[in-house]
Amino acid sequence: MSKHMTTNTPTKAPIQVQASVLKNLDAVRAMIKRHKLNDYIFSVIGLLALMFALLTLLILFGDLVMDGFERFNLKFLSEFPSRRAANAGLLSAWVGSALVMLVTFLVAVPMGVAAGLYLEEYAPKNWFSDLIEINVTNLAGVPSIVYGLLALGLFVYILGLGQSILTAGLTLGLLILPIVIVSTRESIRAIPIAIREAAYAVGATKWQVVYDHVLKYSYGGILTGVIIGMARALGETAPIITIGALTFIAFLPPSPVTDVAPFINFEWLSSGFTVLPIQMFNWLSRPDHAFHINAAATGALIIIVTLLMNGTAIYLRYKIRKNIKW
């Protein structure tokens, strides 16, 4: 090597360059190491935060399951509440929850999707639509008891709908309306302008673009928002108590489906009712510990149903978006 160097005239320069590069390389490596330490520190902090949230939920859920384990059987779902804790069941509560959810769904989905579509596709973009947007977002953060008070005044007293399934469904429908509107707008916004222009360019009207394209490509996201909203409504207690739902119900509302024509009736809408979280609250407020077991079992059931709903939302989003790439 030294022989080779002596034969060339510009020998010194390359060696010097190499030395300085090497020196720099050490500095660069040290810097990368320092920066990577930050990566590591943050990943640990992030993991701890995640674990804290997950573990809290898991412990809570595990505690409920262990406390309520002995009531996990079909009898618990098929019995009315009773004065004797061991005989008491959730029948009226889960049927009430299901019927209220049905009304909530029928109220929130058409109204929320229509409002979201209008705001995104039809409304002129100006300060007024900005104001509406801010208000809709804010509505999502209004405490649910305020919705309860509104419903008590409007639906129960002014409109005279009574302390009924209809009132509860309308109230929860209003409560989750902002969630549905926001998720509708977000999924609509995700559709590229190029796709809309392509549809307009072949001569489509606004409604054809909305119906054939905008709705078809965004319903996965809309559905996700609806399910998450419904899961929230399922657990809501405060507004339902405010409108005066009964806490002890030993009957079922009239069936929505009958065996005589027209096979459907709407009497159930005006029926008194109770829902799962209220039943849980009722049992929890009793001194007898046996009822607390029932409450724990109910809590576990609500969490399981909520998780199932959210799981469905994630699955649907994945499945529907698989065919849409942009």
């Binding site: 222009e197 392509a198 307009y200 360019a201 072949v202 001569g203 489509a204 490509y217 790439k325």
Partner: protein
């Protein structure tokens, strides 16, 4: 390629265009489109060529505040397609468009091509099948997709997607087809396919194409317009523009001294 033997299909007269922010993007553009000819629009970025193209199917109407002044008259019916009384949807039924990036709908190949017909109320299955086949053949895509028309359009390659978009624009028998830099997202082979296709399409319709690619304009077009800062600097048949331009600016742009 003499102007005298050609029929004018459409003509812009003193066309000004203003975007909603007040910027004037077109300044008194006067230009004919000859029937069954390809007219290329060239010029540096931001010169207004895409803006001009999008006037022809009233795409600017989708965004509030944009304003046209002047006329684009379509022949033989002498309709000024920019007039307030003329519905932009009617214009788009006569003039179709192919975009810069392939933008198929997230639907099947068949539904992509059939969509324009469905919008026009066509629901007869036989009729749709025939029209879709005809359009796919016209876009030189039929042989590649005839056995998988129900596949998603996204599964096609970029070049195939662009030909699908051409088939979609073709299915409705337009009088004029607008191409907004149709090959800028494609590789050279796909580009050659599209250029060949355009030359075939002009037998049936009139083409206006925006291109950044000087060779492309020279290869495919019959007439070329050079635009700069919203003005039509020079318009002539393509041979003249590329071999003997009148204006120095045109020559500078074409030879790459500028732009």
């Amino acid at each position: 390629m003499q102007n005298t033997t050609s029929i004018i299909k459409a003509q812009s007269k003193n066309l000004d265009f203003f975007y909603s922010n007040g910027m004037q993007a077109l300044k008194s553009v006067n230009m004919p489109l000859y029937e069954n000819k390809i007219t290329a629009l060239i010029g540096p970025s931001g010169c207004g060529k895409s803006t001009f193209l999008r006037c022809f199917n009233r795409m600017h109407d989708l965004y509030p505040g944009n304003k046209y002044q002047g006329e684009i008259v379509m022949h033989p019916d002498n309709t000024n397609i920019l007039e307030h009384g003329v519905d932009p949807i009617e214009v788009r039924m006569r003039i179709s468009m192919v975009f810069q990036k392939p933008n198929p709908f997230p639907k099947s190949i068949y539904e992509n091509v059939a969509y324009g017909l469905r919008v026009r109320g066509e629901s007869n299955k036989r009729m749709l099948d025939d029209k879709v086949e005809e359009a796919l053949k016209g876009a030189a895509l039929w042989n590649e997709v005839k056995d998988r028309q129900q596949d998603l359009a996204f599964n096609l390659s970029g070049g195939q997607q662009q030909r699908l978009c051409i088939a979609r624009a073709l299915a409705t028998d337009p009088e004029i087809m607008l191409f907004d830099e149709p090959t800028s997202a494609l590789d050279p082979i796909a580009t050659a396919n599209i250029e060949e296709l355009m030359s075939e399409l002009k037998q049936k319709l009139t083409i206006l194409v925006v291109t950044h690619n000087m060779q492309q304009a020279a290869r495919v077009s019959d007439y070329t317009a050079y635009m700069y800062l919203g003005e039509l600097m020079e318009y002539d048949d393509t041979n003249t523009i590329f071999t003997n331009p009148t204006r120095k600016e045109t020559e500078d742009y074409i030879t790459g001294k500028f732009g």
